[in-house]
Subunit: 463 residues, 2 copies
Amino acid sequence: MGRCTVISAPRVVVVGYGAAGVAAAKYAKATNRSCTVTVFEKRRYAVYHPCSIPDAIAGTLELSSLIEDPPVTPGLEVLTATVVEDVDTGGRVVQARDLRTGKKLNVEYDALVLATGSKPSIPRSIRIEDSSGVYTIKTLEDAESVVMAARKHASAAVVGGSALGVEIAHALAKRGVRVTLVERFHNLLPEGLDPEMAKKVEERLEAEGVALVLGDGVSEIHGEAGAKRVITGGGRVLEAGFVVLATGVRACNELARRMGLEIGVSGGVKVDSRMAASAHGVYAAGDVAEVRELLTGKPILNPFANTAYLTGRVAGINAAGGGAELEGVLRSWVVNLGGFKFGAAGLTEAEAREAGFHVLSTVVTVQEKPVFYPDSKPVTVKLIVDSVDGRLLGTQAVGEGDVLEKLNLAATAIASGFTIEKLLTLELAYTPSLNEVFHPLLLASDALVRLRERKSRKKGSPA
Amino acid sequence: MGRCTVISAPRVVVVGYGAAGVAAAKYAKATNRSCTVTVFEKRRYAVYHPCSIPDAIAGTLELSSLIEDPPVTPGLEVLTATVVEDVDTGGRVVQARDLRTGKKLNVEYDALVLATGSKPSIPRSIRIEDSSGVYTIKTLEDAESVVMAARKHASAAVVGGSALGVEIAHALAKRGVRVTLVERFHNLLPEGLDPEMAKKVEERLEAEGVALVLGDGVSEIHGEAGAKRVITGGGRVLEAGFVVLATGVRACNELARRMGLEIGVSGGVKVDSRMAASAHGVYAAGDVAEVRELLTGKPILNPFANTAYLTGRVAGINAAGGGAELEGVLRSWVVNLGGFKFGAAGLTEAEAREAGFHVLSTVVTVQEKPVFYPDSKPVTVKLIVDSVDGRLLGTQAVGEGDVLEKLNLAATAIASGFTIEKLLTLELAYTPSLNEVFHPLLLASDALVRLRERKSRKKGSPA
């Protein structure tokens, strides 16, 4: 369990109450019941579910249902509408301000968890001449604005084919808005899926009425709300009632910089495997913390709720005097567009090649269960392996079937260094009304084992 | 990939065309395209899906849909209605007989895969005075008989609360038959679930109209079809139109015995990790082969299709001159009763204790996804770990949620020796319309980590 500094009743301060802050506060209390946890959150509401915003925009959920009351835990106080303006890391004092009253307050801490999150980032290459009717998605207020715009205008342009961009485009189309999704790379999800897998998502979106512009970035946004003109580098002019920018995020590292914390190349706060930052007693977690990609060691931001929760938990435990570590992340993710799912764990083929691996890959499409079950659905999986040692490097899955099961099995296998040969010894649960007797990941592994044998025979044979 | 004996065009014979035989034949051909594969199957139809029989009895599927045409693969011949009467393992000749014509035929082989399967086993402790209206479940003919009986009679007794017994009881109840399920142990699924998890299955079955008699074994079966009387050791007399016995299976090892193959304590053919039996060139796979439980090394029969397929694949590859191995099995299994699912991977708590592990366990019940999603469903998971090193030994899951995902993730983690601490570093895919940000297995691991810490603190403190 690592080293364990015992402070009888440590005072833990958490800055930010997103997924990372929630987990940090919860696990600080769980680690040491006698510790006091004070959370500062600048929002007026304590807990909300940003990942459900697309479902609220689609109209599947009420926006108000995304707000949750904070837990009532003795010794855990959540101060909303309160912003931390500075931290004296020497004296271990937080300087905060109540946004409603303007009152300042100073709070001493033994350990501080910085969980200030991330915010939408708009590339400089996009010139916005008129920002009316142009939205980013982060808060419930943003979501509300987009819902209002969708009620008012018949068409929208979504800029950025990331997971969020795809979700928003799909959600708006579901509401009946005529949507064009623009991505400067030649395929959607360029950071998460290889082109042949992204193709399946593209086909699905087009079938659901989303127009795609791929391989062409947005350079200018003109016109007022209701009559926006989006101009691409390739010279396209897209007319739309409003525009949603899903062009990525960056770490909210302003406070960290003011505190003098070391910042990594990703823009996130540099931390060790215990999520400890460069100042004593200070931890960082969630989107503001730089994490390491597990297979390559590359420092990255991984602004997803699963990583936020895991890093928040580790930071909270350590802040309360416990011991927990996180070596790195695989960037496991999944998107669900009304039953059509896609996601990945580990490296894409492109990333694996860039990282210097000798890559073998295969794609298999199968019916989830025997075809005589009327609700059998197709699922496509891609495995990316190191051809030298056969180690699994990445998995992608797309389809109507149980994509989550494939991805989480794969994430577990990647994290434990499985080779395809080892995968082929996995005895997985089977019943024909749910799945097939030979798991798609094993089917793909088997194909790769034979591909690898053929390659090594070719190499071994005289020239 | 192990050793690799290359025979230019080996003649492979497969005896039995269930899941193991199908896999053996397929992977023999895949390993060496030039090999010839001859399959002997005593059934008149080649391929069928025995695991779907409960769905056919329930009326969800047509029985005829469970029959599949054999694959058309050059060099692969499936001889149905043909029984292998003996094998000369010295001269490597199979002696078979065509059941339709009575003609005998001798076939030479280089490698032989024995995949003769298993058959229903009725304990001697049950005295059957009149076998009319008493059925076991193995073949499609058995299933047909039960469907006919269910059309004719209003009530049934199912004997044996194994996975099959539970499936059949549920299927008959779904057809409108009044069912009593009798299990001599005090809980259902005594070999697969611990009592508190089995309890949830019991509650569900009772809610669906199945009457349960637990902790009381059947001793006698009297009366003719339509008026059966099932008498228990405890003196109960159950009246039923017909009776289904789901009292386990035993290996069809008669041919193996005639061949002089070594038979293990389980009644299965003794094999090594390559599925090689005690005679040269002979492999065994599927229900007739004895396998090792991965964590304990205990020799067992694991008569499930997933193991049959895996062992068949390994046997087929080796029979064709390739190299594949299987160290052992976890007995991963899952049952789906119309959306209510349950299953396990690895050891139950009872088995782990019996095997000498110092066991810690926990059970958590959670909603699969945030409660503001109207289709959020509950799922219960149990983790069983070794308290000494924190290693995961077994997982059970029950509920309406994605039980398969929990079990297959757990199977992967158990097979790779994960500790609960390692589980807690797993970054799994998350999207709120599918699941929760902190996976139930991680939630349970977290509880166990703290339980273990408390235990070790107690032990460490002065007495």
